[in-house]
């Protein structure tokens, strides 16, 4: 549905994007991650035809964005960064205006208007001026604008930025619901959002793709194994030597000692859950085990590692 091939973008002498390639299949919801200034917005602007790439090309819904710009633009909805809207207009007037510019009219426009107002939960905002709306409702209005013509592809630039936690959950649910029938590329730097709404992640850093895959794949690829946190009562050196006999042992670190209980962080080089092995070791050595916790690497760590 979306295909980006070897896209490079120069702003003067600054290279904002460097040979970016990725693609989205129909029905995918893909999170576009990266630190500020990594090139997320630039990529989205190129995809929507707002600015052209310096090199490379993009295809959206089968149409080349540079050569058949108008056709490609008909197939997508776009929510630009910071949700720009005309403050002086009423919500429905604004949506009608966008609808008319998209050549929707008469009953079809009325029907779509009703649908997007329902989908986006805009019922309470109808008839209000956009400038009087809360940020959450502005965001919904922006989404409604992008959805109005029932596009196959949605491109959302930071749809949840600046919202409160409740609103974030609402918008996220909305995106997930819409994502059932559409291809969505959304940029964000809230990682939990990606884990909850996206089927796949593309991480971009300094204008280059730093990694892509499902959140799980990325975690395994970059961080490898999960980490175990244990608290053991006993002699430090004895425990240290004992831990080395664990299967797939990689390394261990002492974190702290509290009331004679020593806390270790143990890395075992296996994707399987080896908590039981640690427990058995403690029983065999007659150590008092006060804590045993297994932690998967988080997307946060992956993100940090890939983008630094």
């Amino acid at each position: 549905m979306i295909e980006v091939k070897g896209v490079t973008k120069w702003y003067g002498t600054f290279r904002a994007l460097d040979q970016i390639s990725f693609s989205l299949d129909k029905g995918e919801v893909v999170g576009f991650l990266g630190p500020n200034g990594a090139g997320k917005t630039t990529t989205m602007r190129i995809l929507t035809g707002f600015i052209p790439p310096s090199e490379g090309e993009c295809t959206v819904a089968g149409h080349n964005v540079s050569a058949h710009s108008l056709l490609a633009r008909q197939k997508m909805g776009y929510l630009p960064e910071a949700t720009p809207l005309y403050g002086d207009m009423e919500v429905t007037d604004y949506l009608k205006y966008i609808g008319a510019l998209r050549k929707l009219s008469g009953d079809l426009l009325k029907k779509r208007l009703k649908e997007v107002v329902a989908i986006c939960g805009l019922g309470n905002a109808v008839g209000k001026k956009i400038s009087t709306l809360s940020k959450g409702f502005r965001q919904r209005t922006g989404l409604a604008q992008a959805l109005l013509h029932d596009p196959e592809v949605l491109i959302l630039d930071e749809p949840t930025v600046g919202l409160d936690p409740n609103q974030i959950v609402e918008i996220r649910n909305l995106i997930r619901q819409i994502g059932k029938s559409k291809t969505i590329l959304l940029s964000t730097h809230i990682l939990s959002e990606v884990e909850q709404t996206c089927t796949r992640v593309i991480i971009i850093s300094d204008g280059k793709i730093a990694g892509q895959g499902t959140p799980q794949e990325l975690i395994h690829k970059t961080h490898g194994a999960p980490v175990y946190f244990v608290g053991i009562r006993g002699e430090e050196n004895v425990i240290r030597d004992g831990l080395k006999t664990l299967p797939f042992y990689k390394d261990s670190n002492k974190i702290s000692t509290v009331n004679g209980v020593i806390h270790f962080q143990i890395a075992l080089d296996s994707k399987n859950n080896l908590s039981e092995e640690i427990f058995k070791l403690c029983v065999a050595q007659k150590w008092g085990l006060t804590e045993l916790r297994r932690e998967e690497a988080t997307l946060e760590e992956v993100f940090k590692k890939l983008t630094q």
């Binding site: 707002f50 720009p84 205006y97």
Partner: protein, 235 residues
Amino acid sequence: MITIAKKEYREFFYSPIAYVFTAVFLFLTFWIFFANFFPLGQATLRFFFSWVPILFLIFLPSITMSKWAEEKKLGTLETLLTLPLTDHSVVLGKFLSSVFVLLTILLLTLPVCITVSFLGDLDPGPVIGGYLGLFLLGSACLSAGLYFSSLTENQIIAYVIPTVVLFLFYLLGEQVIINYLPSFFKPLLSYISLSTHFQSITRGVIDTRDILYYLSVTGFFLYLNLIQLESRQWR
């Protein structure tokens, strides 16, 4: 194109600035006209047609100042330009809405003509020519104002610069300026000046060269505007 024009036309009459400017413009127009008209005691609109162009230079950039600058500032330009619309239809839509505003204002000055025609024998030739001239001059001013608005995000700049530029081009044709400059420049200056062509139209002589002049100035700035919009494609 029509959709944009309609929305922006309506928007203009929603904004308080529009009312203030329109009111001030009409007040000045009527005041300057009648202050000169009654003492003179002649059924002529000569004063009207010599003052309105100068008021236009001050007033018309206020119609166009927000057209692009505001969209850029709000970021709505990004939404607008990623809709399936061609760049030139957006430019023309904005221009058309401004022209409709101009027509509305010209319509509101009609009471001046009606009053004069009641009071005396008004020669329709110069009046029709005058209005045509005002319309053409106004369109050229709007087109220029629109272009300067596309260069900045700041509405004040988008107002001041075209006003200054238009004044300069208007004054170029005035005798005061021409007499100070070498005679070599005279025909060139009076040709490019906004005022000389207007004066010949208001005499009631409708010359295609004058009409062509205003149409080409309008077209020139609309074209520059389009280039400016498309220049994002080269950067």
